[in-house]
Structures are given as structure tokens and as C-alpha cells.
């Protein structure tokens, strides 16, 4: 294609920007071809890439800078060599992300609330179970000891009853001690679980922290 054809296609594809901007772009590239000279025209066209693509990129840049929404094709700029045009892109994405979050907030906020409540309920349940176990242990040991104590008195009145009381009392003490052991085991288990969770959290946070600036 000739340079004139290239420039024509470029001009015809500059959509979504004010005519003054388009004229500026055209002036720049017309001059660019002129200064490159006839002998370099082919090389320039190759370097610039397809005129339609160039038009898209140029229009998108112009629109982004002037704050026009919905200009021809925003997004990645593949033809810009190694020029890192990320900063504008990131700003757009963040703004869109925030808007999206606000709009969907009824959904995720209630889900979050529900999750928190469930978590709370679980914590309370676990605490209740462990506490009851602990109390049961204490009560059973105490009752058992008391029964054995009673048996020691009954021995003077009716031996078989005393024997039975001692037996029952010891059973209660035994069960109580088992319950106590179980409670202790639960408490240790919970402690370990909590520590494991907190280690995981901090490790994740540490990995995301160091940011080498680009």
C-alpha cells in the first residue's frame, strides 16, 4: 500500500474523538512520513502496523486522556513496542471493580454476614460442648467421691449396700476422669487448630507484601 492509502485508512478509522484531535493525529503522522522520506515509507508503515489498528490505539489514547468513555477500542496496546501503558488501564479496572462491588453489595454483604454468623455459631457450639464436658467431668468425679464417702459410713449399717455404693462411686469417678481427659484433649486440639490457622494467615500476608515497584 502507498503512504497515501495508509494515511487515508488511518483517517477514516479515527472514531469517537473530536475532529481537532483527529486532525492533530493526522498532522503528526503525515509529517512523520514526510520526515522519514520516501525511501523509508515502507519501513515506517511496517513499524506502525496496520492503519486500522493504529487508528484504534490513537483514538483510544486521545479518548482516555480527554475522559471520553466508549471510544473505539480501549484496552491493550499491542503495537506500542515495550511502552508499558498499564497505569491508565489499572485505574479504569479499579474504578470498574469498585462500582461492581457496590452494585452487588446486597448479595455479597448478606452472604458475608451469614458466614460470620455461622462461624460465630460454630465457635459458641464448640465452646458449649467443651464446657459441658468439663463440668460433667467435675460433677461426676465429685459425685463419685461423695458416694464412696457415703459408702464408708454405710459400711457400719449394711455391708452389701456399702459395697454397691463404693462400686457405683468408683464408676462415677472413673467416668468423670475420662471426661476430664477428653475435655483436656479438646482444649489442646482447639489451641493447636487456632495456631495452625493463624500461621497460615500470616504466611499468606507475608508473601503478598513485598512490592518491587514497576
Amino acid at each position: 500500500m502507498t503512504r497515501e492509502e495508509y494515511l487515508d485508512i488511518l483517517q477514516n478509522n479515527l472514531h469517537g474523538i473530536p475532529p481537532q484531535e483527529a486532525e492533530n493525529i493526522m498532522e503528526y503522522y503525515r509529517e512523520y512520513f514526510d520526515d522519514a522520506g520516501v525511501e523509508n515509507a515502507e519501513k515506517v508503515m511496517q513499524e506502525l502496523g496496520a492503519p486500522e489498528q493504529l487508528a484504534k490505539r490513537a483514538a483510544a489514547d486521545a479518548a482516555a486522556e480527554n475522559g471520553f468513555a466508549g471510544a473505539a477500542g480501549s484496552g491493550q496496546n499491542p503495537g506500542f513496542g515495550s511502552y508499558n501503558g498499564q497505569t491508565d488501564e489499572k485505574k479504569k479496572h479499579t474504578a470498574a471493580g469498585i462500582t461492581l462491588a457496590v452494585i452487588t453489595s446486597p448479595i455479597w454483604a448478606s452472604l458475608l454476614l451469614a458466614a460470620v454468623c455461622v462461624l460465630f455459631a460454630v465457635v459458641i457450639t464448640v465452646a458449649a460442648v467443651v464446657l459441658s464436658l468439663g463440668f460433667a467431668a467435675v460433677v461426676m468425679v465429685a459425685a463419685g467421691l461423695f458416694t464412696v464417702g457415703t459408702a464408708l459410713v454405710t459400711v457400719f449399717l449394711h455391708i452389701p449396700t456399702a459395697v454397691m455404693l463404693i462400686g457405683a462411686g468408683l464408676v462415677s469417678v472413673g467416668l468423670g476422669l475420662l471426661a476430664a481427659l477428653l475435655t483436656y484433649g479438646c482444649v489442646i486440639g482447639i489451641k493447636r487448630f487456632v495456631m495452625w490457622i493463624s500461621n497460615k494467615e500470616w504466611r499468606n500476608a507475608k508473601i503478598h507484601k513485598p512490592k518491587i515497584f514497576a
Binding site: 520526515d35 486521545a62 486522556e65 506500542f80 511502552y83
Partner: protein, 105 residues
């Protein structure tokens, strides 16, 4: 080239080149291309942005029966360039420290 140049750094390079002498688009691009791997279309938005921030002004000079647009750095542009140079030294030494393990003053 593996490392992409950031937009601020590119601005700094353009201002630095123009500090030496006023240039028109094509020559400016060729100059920058010698140092950084950019495409021919990279500089137009850069120049426009720098012009908008009043770091550059343009003027036309007739050449071979047409107009050639030159870009010239302004005082505000020189100030910005000085700031960029300071930042670059700090940035460069940080990168050196991490990448090559050297402490450069």
C-alpha cells in the same frame, strides 16, 4: 528487550533528549529508539501528554515547502526533568542493590 520501559521513565527520556535540542517527531523517535525499544507510534501520545502538562511547547518551521513541527522543552519541563533524574538515581540504586547485590552511592 526483556524489560519494558514505564511511562514515567519514557517521559523522562523524551524530556532529556529535548533538553539538548529541539526536535521534530521523526528524529525524536529515532533518537529514543536508539536507546529504548519503542515502536514508531509510541511517542505521539507521550508528546501530547507532555505538551498538555506544559512540559513542552511546539512551533512550526517551514521546510521544503511544508511545515515541520518542532517540540521544545519548557522551564516547567526542565524542573520535571530534574525531578525525574533524582528519582532515577534512587530507583537505579535500589534495583542495583536487589539485582546485583551492590551498594552504589
Amino acid at each position: 528487550m526483556i524489560f519494558q520501559i514505564g511511562s514515567a521513565l519514557l517521559d523522562a527520556c523524551v524530556l532529556s533528549v529535548l533538553e539538548r535540542e529541539d526536535m521534530y517527531g521523526y528524529i525524536l523517535t529515532q533518537n529514543v529508539k536508539e536507546v529504548v525499544d519503542i515502536s514508531e507510534s509510541t511517542l505521539y501520545p507521550v508528546l501530547r501528554r507532555l505538551q498538555k502538562e506544559a512540559y513542552l511547547v511546539t512551533y512550526d518551521q517551514p521546510f521544503a515547502g511544508r511545515n515541520r513541527r518542532y517540540y521544545q522543552i519548557t522551564d516547567k519541563g526542565r524542573e520535571q526533568l530534574a525531578m525525574y533524574r533524582k528519582e532515577w538515581i534512587a530507583y537505579k540504586s535500589n534495583i542495583d542493590r536487589i539485582l546485583t547485590g551492590e551498594e552504589k552511592q
